[in-house]
């Protein structure tokens, strides 16, 4: 057993761990952040992707000891603003005053542009691959703000999705890229989703 400290989403987390503990397990069991998922444990599916100081890794194939002392960002770190208390509305006079649906996705103070785009493009179905997919997409779009659709496909080639056929995920990547280009400070709403051909 060994003491390890890793900063996760800005919080300093220390645990006494078995040397075998993977970064994935440290995030989930020591830091208690279960948004990072274990889909295969063999560095194939990408569900466990997180950032270590700006670089994307598959956390199931990294020992916690390998990143001791470093900073990790997980899916929970992308939308910290959402953690502020929600006002509870009960009286009749306030009927109809729950946040309108659009606000859920379009309030960019709440969600990262990649998350907003995934919501608006229906880029997730069961949602299990989504945290890893979003992390890889964010990491890639920060490096290449003007990707082609094929670039986006290659960037997420290490992330499997069995539900969507990837089409809406690529749509979301392109939409998020546009948002991130137009507002590097993430303070303006996302563009409307293009009309779909049915």
């Amino acid at each position: 057993m060994q003491d390890v400290t890793i900063t996760i989403n800005g919080d300093i987390v220390t645990g006494t761990i078995d040397e075998r503990t993977l970064l994935l397990d440290f995030i989930r069991d020591v830091a208690g952040k279960t948004g990072t998922h274990n889909g295969c444990l063999e560095a194939r599916c990408g569900c466990c992707s997180v950032e270590v100081e700006g670089d994307i890794v598959k956390s199931c194939n990294v020992l916690a000891l390998q990143v001791a002392g470093r900073s990790v960002t997980t899916i929970e770190g992308l939308s910290k603003e959402r953690l502020r208390p929600v006002e509870h509305v009960t009286s009749q006079s306030l009927a109809g005053m729950y946040a309108p649906l659009e606000a859920m996705g379009a309030d960019v103070n709440d969600l990262h542009p990649v998350q907003v785009a995934f919501h608006q493009c229906h880029a997730l179905q069961c949602g299990f691959c989504t945290p890893g997919m979003v992390m890889v997409m964010k990491n890639y779009l920060e490096e290449n703000p003007e990707p082609t659709r094929d670039d986006v496909r290659t960037a997420i080639a290490g992330n499997l999705c069995r539900c969507t056929g990837y089409q809406h995920i690529v749509d979301a990547g392109m939409m998020a890229a546009e948002t991130m280009r137009s507002q590097p400070d993430n303070s303006r709403p996302a563009p409307a989703r293009p009309a779909h051909d049915h």
Partner: protein, 288 residues
């Protein structure tokens, strides 16, 4: 994964001391992308892991006085993919940016790939293809190993317990006019089913050096000799891609027989295809 002790040296000599102290149960971990896969399914169970994470000397790229490009063994694919190399060295960045997938490239290292010596990985083929040498540190000092001695004919490497691969030394830019790497794999993140490295030096339209290597189909990359014999000294136009590629397939996998199992027949076809592509691409590049 079985239990192990994790050691964190800060200098190469310290690594070697630790490896010696715990031989043969100690293993080096750099990115761990290959090693950890084996440890998780318990096919690999070292009792000691010696981490290169704190050994910064082993990371990075420098030019040696000889003109060689010296790449630290613990340099990641992601780092190399972002490098702006000159001349044929650009192919190194291209290979490193087009293998595995984005997150794996963050952790995976060139030295790790060389030591894993998986025939389907791109690095052993590239290293062999351009005749890069491998710098190894041990208690006895530093030695430099040629790829033909590093990668064993039956698979694996000649590294002994206590050896630390410290760097891969690629020949100077002048060594080749062009280096072309071609491979085929079904999905982007799959390892290659066949790969070819063609390293070519041309002067005044005449082939001064040519090295053709086929990877992924034999336990170690095969340098093709007979299929390229006689080309040196010839004009570049003399290369007939189809003939050379067909001969290379025979040289690598032996002559065709009617009993060849399907996968062997397929490998043969793929060697021809990727080699032909490499030859066409290489000879189409402007010759200095």
């Amino acid at each position: 994964m079985r239990a192990f002790t994790y050691l964190t040296p800060s200098a190469p000599t310290e690594v070697v001391e630790m490896l010696d102290a715990h031989a043969p149960d100690a293993r080096v971990i750099a990115g761990g992308q290959n090693l950890l896969l084996g440890m998780k399914d318990r096919s690999d169970s070292p009792a000691f892991l010696v981490s290169l994470g704190g050994v910064s000397e082993l990371e990075g790229v420098r030019a040696a006085d000889s003109g060689e490009l010296v790449i630290g063994a613990a340099t990641t694919y992601a780092t190399l993919a972002r490098m702006e190399f000159t001349g044929w060295h650009a192919e190194i960045a291209s290979v490193c940016g087009n293998l595995a997938d984005r997150p794996v490239r963050t952790m995976g290292t060139i030295g790790g790939a060389a030591c894993a010596a998986d025939p389907r990985y791109d690095i052993p083929a590239l290293v062999t293809g351009v005749g890069a040498s491998l710098e190894v540190l041990s208690a006895q000092g530093v030695r430099t190993i040629e790829p033909s001695d590093f990668f064993l004919e039956g698979g694996g490497t000649s590294l002994q317990p206590g050896d630390l691969l410290t760097a891969v030394r690629f020949p100077a830019t002048e060594a080749f006019t062009t280096v072309v790497f071609e491979k085929f794999r079904q999905r982007v993140f799959d390892a290659a089913l066949a790969s070819t490295v063609l390293a070519l030096r041309v002067g005044d339209g005449v082939i001064e050096d040519l090295r053709l290597t086929v990877g992924a189909t034999t336990p170690r990359p095969t340098v093709c000799v007979t299929s390229t014999a006689g080309l040196i000294g010839q004009p570049v136009d003399a290369i007939e891609p189809v003939l050379v590629a067909d001969a290379a397939a025979i040289e690598v996998l032996g002559p065709e027989t009617s009993n060849d199992p399907p996968h062997l027949r397929y490998q043969r076809e793929l060697i021809k295809s990727v080699t032909r592509r490499a030859l066409i691409r290489a000879t189409a590049i402007p010759r200095s």
